[in-house]
């Protein structure tokens, strides 16, 4: 007979499976059903492309720098003049990238390829991901379409989370501010060395030739900790 304290994995499974399921209180259901009833009628907001991603029209605005004092994760217009819309909202919803002062990186393509990135393949796979997303870093940004698939976890679960993460990445990889006016070209969710991660491709606008910064970050990337796993740079034309 097993002695007290020897709890096996099977014991835990049975214990947990045997717990009574809590029933939703009526007050909670009333609250939820009233909240849903208060929603406006559903309106289709986006169409899907052949890969299943949500294709969002890109509106071009004049580029400009924002004044200082931006707060990470605030919903503010940005992105080098490009407005990124979310498929879930009826009106274009700009994405804010954190940071202080100047114009901030812009996430144009958010994908969930599930690619297994490694330290060795990071640069190559990032270029493949850019190509797959239809992003040519050497082409004018206005010619690019945006494919945005917000995920339900990690830093790509919301525009605010994405903005906060990108700002934190910029501050972490370039504390001297040299990436403050960079452009984010791609955010791809997959794995890096086997762990849940995101791959962010930033294009520096300050170098004489376009320079790409490929940064692997943990899925938990957040303003307080971007969780940078790997950072490589390469010329955009390479």
């Amino acid at each position: 007979m097993t002695s007290k304290g020897d709890m096996t994995e099977d014991d835990i499974e049975r214990l947990l499976a045997g717990q009574p399921r809590p029933v939703m209180p009526e007050a909670v259901w009333t609250r939820l059903s009233e909240a849903l009833a208060a929603e406006p009628p559903f309106e289709p907001t986006a169409e899907t492309d052949s890969s299943g991603g949500v294709v969002v029209p890109l509106r071009r605005r004049r580029a400009g720098r924002l004044a200082g004092g931006l707060v990470a994760a605030a919903a503010v217009v940005l992105l080098g003049g490009i407005v990124v819309t979310s498929g879930s909202s009826p009106e274009p919803a700009p994405v804010a990238i954190g940071g202080d002062g100047a114009a901030q990186p812009a996430a144009l393509s958010v994908t969930t390829s599930g690619t297994s990135y490694t330290a060795t393949t990071l640069a190559t796979e990032a270029k493949t991901a850019l190509a797959r997303a239809g992003m040519d870093p050497t082409a004018p940004l206005s010619s690019a379409s945006v494919v945005q698939t917000l995920t339900n976890s990690g830093f790509t679960a919301s525009r605010e989370a994405l903005a906060g993460c990108l700002g934190a990445i910029v501050r972490a990889v370039a504390p001297d501010g040299s990436l403050n006016d960079s452009t984010a070209l791609l955010v791809d969710r997959g794995t890096f060395e086997g762990r849940d991660a995101g791959i962010v491709v930033l294009m520096s606008n300050r170098a004489a030739t376009p320079t790409l910064h490929v940064v692997a970050v943990a899925a938990s990337c957040a303003p307080v900790d971007p969780g940078v796993l790997r950072h490589v740079t390469l010329a955009a034309a390479s």
Partner: protein
């Protein structure tokens, strides 16, 4: 919509403009969704907030459902990730809810047994509250809600191996904390509600 409309039909009706379809869909699964939210986030008011955020998001993004998974998987994914996001952002400290089920005919047949079951439930909830959010979500979905690992992997947007790993680590931690629940006098291994197993 007829009462026997499928979940997919209800979601399609909602996308087509049926004003009642989404609420009907949610009503079907409200207890399971509530259980996941409450067990993951651990605090009733936060769970209600997270669930409301999730359902409104699902309502608005209904056309993002691609049909490659069950509608319930899609809903659970949105709910559990809303809970995880809320926990990460607000560093929610879960507290331990008392079991909230409907009383059944045996609930008061043996007051001592009823108290034991509630105490076990409290112990389980306290132990769950000590788990990292991702482990807690995984083990709630797999062990408490009975979802297959592959479905949970879709919900958590991670590989099935990661789900298994999180569950394994969670069970190990829970085993350390709940070892005192093992009843040496029983034929079975643990004291569970409704008798031994």
């Amino acid at each position: 919509m007829p009462d026997d409309a499928s979940d997919r039909d209800l979601l399609a009706a909602h996308v087509a403009g049926d004003p009642e379809a989404f609420t009907t869909l949610v009503s079907r699964h409200r207890d399971r969704l509530w259980a996941v939210a409450l067990r993951t986030i651990g605090e009733p008011e936060e769970a209600a907030d997270a669930l409301q955020d999730a359902l409104i998001s699902a309502y608005r993004r209904a056309d993002s459902y691609r049909g490659d998974a069950a509608v319930t998987t899609w809903l659970h994914r949105i709910v559990v990730n809303a809970c995880l996001d809320r926990m990460r952002r607000r560093a929610v400290r879960p507290w331990v809810p008392l079991p909230d089920g409907e009383p059944d005919s045996t609930a008061f047949a043996d007051p001592v047994d009823s108290i034991d079951r509630r105490e076990v439930a409290l112990e389980v909830e306290r132990a769950l509250a000590t788990l990292p959010a991702e482990q807690r979500a995984a083990i709630v979905l797999v062990d408490m809600e009975g979802w297959p690992v592959d479905e949970v992997a879709r919900m958590l947007d991670c590989p099935p191996g990661t789900v298994k790993s999180r569950c394994f680590r969670a069970r190990a931690k829970l085993a350390e904390q709940l070892g005192h629940l093992r009843n040496p006098d029983d034929q079975g291994p643990v004291s569970t509600p409704g008798g031994t197993s």
